[in-house]
Symmetry: C2
Subunit: 469 residues, 2 copies
């Protein structure tokens, strides 16, 4: 697909739909909506439009389908796989005016529009005594719509599941302009094919999400947070599986290599930690519930498990402030690591017991292809973020050797019964590794599904599926 | 589609694949595999075959696809929507030789073949200190493969979710004979379209499931079970939502109308209850966890909520025997109610706060169309089983008036943001109500998905989608 030119008459029609003040052709706006958090890419849409309701989205889609112009839905632009990049230009469909929240206290559900910031939604639920668990590190700026599109996870996924586990029903606009609900507002549903879960994680390639019905839980009143320094990275990884095998399901179990912590402590204000030189990695472990005695018992069990490993003194957060500081640090790791250099980030995921093998494989690939990596992530669910740092590597090696190393890392994850992405999606930057996870039969099925929903391939084209399919 | 005749040469080829001792043409065997638990239907397959491994399934599918002969996968034949009925004859593919279980204690996963009985799998996990929560009432005879195909639920779904929430990855054989995995063995996965969840609940219409990777949890050590008699059915329904609104997530919350209990007490041995004449319904409530003190506190909170309703004395099960007796009774309700008469069972589901409205609507429909219904089910997740009893109703009313009443009940569930089936599937008997839950756009999408996987429509044809689509 070549870069698109939108006919002037179509621009006029689009302006009629959304109104003059919600259509933008200027370079500054287009560039602003041309990037997310994926490496240093910028693919400006040809035009940015900001519809105000589902009906407008429907009319836009009908028009785009008629003119065969790509439409890329845009949320908080915090994505790490390039899902929101307008790689062929076309219409950048910013959903930012879709920001209503309704909390249904009677049914423990949230009816939420896609542009609502994840943290805003979590707080709205919290105020009513309810709990929306998914908490991507970017929760302060990412949107619920983007979370659904990428099937975002976060630190609480090991106990509470990921975004998909909370989505009950979706209002979507198809490329044809038709508006439909994917399911029902029920906790159980065995009524036809699961269109809801087909839409979740489809990265804006099957339909435009305009409304989301989320399951909510009663909120927990207490938690205990502990930071555990390990003298050996591999042992930190091993401890992860051992904690579960002892019958404990923590609400968070995060892994950070030494570099990740050091760089982050320099990057964020107001957090300090006294770490021995010999410490190679940390686990940040949280348990939550309503009964403090139960949490103390769980924490003690965890300490019993940790006894068998070489660890330094455990830090127990003794106040809300200290908890917030530790979480602030953990959430800033990604940004901190990336602030140092050009980078590539992979979102590897394996069954959790395989983490030590994965980590060792990543370091071996780095050695072989000459790159430095900083690893951290949601170890409790086997999801390890691999940040490959360009540093002073020359461009040629960066562009030719590093992708070979990434391919080897992905081959390793798949051989361990894992896969390419745990929570970031495939989007633009991982699509040409999809042949590692899927054979031609599987990829052709996915392509056919795409074709049913979007026969003219106008919805976020050039994402997920490999170029040569 | 007319009833199928399988060419003799194909029978010979099938026999070559599975061996003579695993192919059956006699009437007795065909009739045996011609029914599940759906009303009094019997649709014998033309031939019953019992493949022994995935490769054999693949060869069978290739052959069936070439000859365009329907294939109906058959599990425990406990289904209530007719998913396993060979309505056009063809090949009845009994998966009963697929019965291996592997428990991966390191990753808290079970790798299980489809014919494993649900209870056997639950016990295998339990022996390793692990927990597979889904527990359909038929758990002693239904199979894991059938549970996946119908997205079965059970009594613990309100806290722990349904079958779909445990399926991580599936090995399936497509109608083309191709063997593929749908995903990865990971807790998180944002890698392409969710083929796993498309397969779950697809009732054997998209592929033959030959292996299932299930997530397991650490098992809980304690629970409290209480049986609460309500003087008003409507109040029992209202109490359900109130318990959640008080911040409690029970591990089971079951509703039984008076008739359901009375009939069951007559039907099962070894369970007796002393129930006042004025009692209209019961809730069976369970809380579970590892800390007895916490459970007592939860039970007290529940009793606090129940105080506002007109209830009789609560029965607390004081031994494992009594717990087992109460659960045995609850699980037998379906069979007991159905043993009285010809019946039709609907599997309505609504957001849980709407239960009282649903129950009232069901009774009103019964009055209008002259049928008696007995209702019970998993009220904690809004899933109410409606058993319509033929009793001494004449055949004409049974065949013309009752379907009108069912249609009105389904229209009510959908207007309450609920849907047709919570856990039984649509199968054969509910397919012509699908237009109530879905419009033509949605149904056409489903039909197109079916067509991608199964272009010759050989896999369990005549299920899920309405006849006139």
């Amino acid at each position: 697909m070549e870069n698109i030119i939108i006919p002037q008459e179509m621009i006029v029609s689009l302006e009629k739909i959304v109104g003059q003040s919600f259509l933008f052709l200027d370079e500054e706006t287009r560039k602003h909506y041309g990037h997310d958090e994926t490496e240093d890419y910028n693919f400006p849409p040809s035009v940015v439009i900001k519809p105000g309701n589902t009906q407008e989205v429907s009319e836009i889609m009908k028009l785009a389908n008629e003119y065969k112009i790509p439409v890329v839905p845009i949320g908080g632009r915090t994505g790490l796989s390039g899902g929101a990049l307008s790689i062929y230009g076309g219409i950048g469909l910013s959903m930012e005016r879709f920001n209503k929240i309704e909390i249904d206290e009677q049914n423990l559900q949230g009816i939420v529009e896609p542009a609502v910031i994840t943290q805003v939604f979590r707080e709205a639920a919290f105020e009513k005594g309810l709990f929306y668990p998914p908490d991507p590190s970017s929760q302060g700026s990412c949107t619920i719509g983007g979370n659904v599109a990428e099937n975002a996870g976060g630190a609480r996924a090991l106990k509470y599941g990921v975004t998909k586990d909370y989505v009950l029903n979706l209002e979507v606009v198809l490329p044809s302009g038709e508006i439909m609900w994917t399911g029902a507002n029920t906790l159980k549903n065995s009524t036809g094919y699961n269109l809801t879960q087909l839409m979740v994680g489809s990265e804006g390639t099957l339909g435009i999400i305009t409304k989301i019905v989320m399951k909510l839980l009663p909120k927990n009143s207490h938690n205990i947070l502990m930071m555990v320094p390990f003298f050996k990275s591999a042992q930190a990884c091993e401890a992860v599986a051992e904690i579960f095998r002892a019958g404990i399901v923590p609400s968070a179990l995060e892994f950070m290599e030494r570099d990740a912590i050091d760089w982050t402590l320099k990057y964020v204000d107001g957090v300090s930690l006294d770490i021995k030189d010999e410490v190679e990695a940390h686990l940040l472990i949280e348990v939550d519930g309503n009964y403090p005695d139960m949490l103390f018992a769980e924490a003690e069990k965890i300490m019993g498990v940790l006894d068998q490993f070489e660890i330094d003194e455990i830090l127990f957060a003794d106040s809300e402030e200290q908890k917030n500081a530790l979480w602030k640090m953990r959430r800033a790791v990604g940004e901190a690591v990336k602030s140092n250099s050009v980078y590539k980030e992979e979102d590897t995921v394996v069954p959790r017991y395989e983490l030590p093998t994965l980590l060792a494989g990543i370091k071996a690939a780095g050695k072989k292809y000459g790159f430095h990596s900083v690893c951290y992530g949601h170890a409790g669910d086997g999801n390890l973020h691999v940040n490959i740092i360009k540093g002073d590597m020359n461009d040629e090696n960066w562009n030719t050797e590093v992708p070979k190393g990434i391919r080897e890392i992905f081959e390793l994850t798949v051989s361990l019964k894992g896969t390419l992405s745990g929570e970031h999606g495939i989007g633009y930057v991982q699509k040409n590794y999809m042949d590692i996870a899927f054979n031609d039969t599987q990829l052709q099925l996915m392509k056919s599904i795409k074709n049913i929903f979007d026969p003219n391939n106008i919805l976020n084209p050039g994402k997920i599926l490999p170029d040569n399919l």
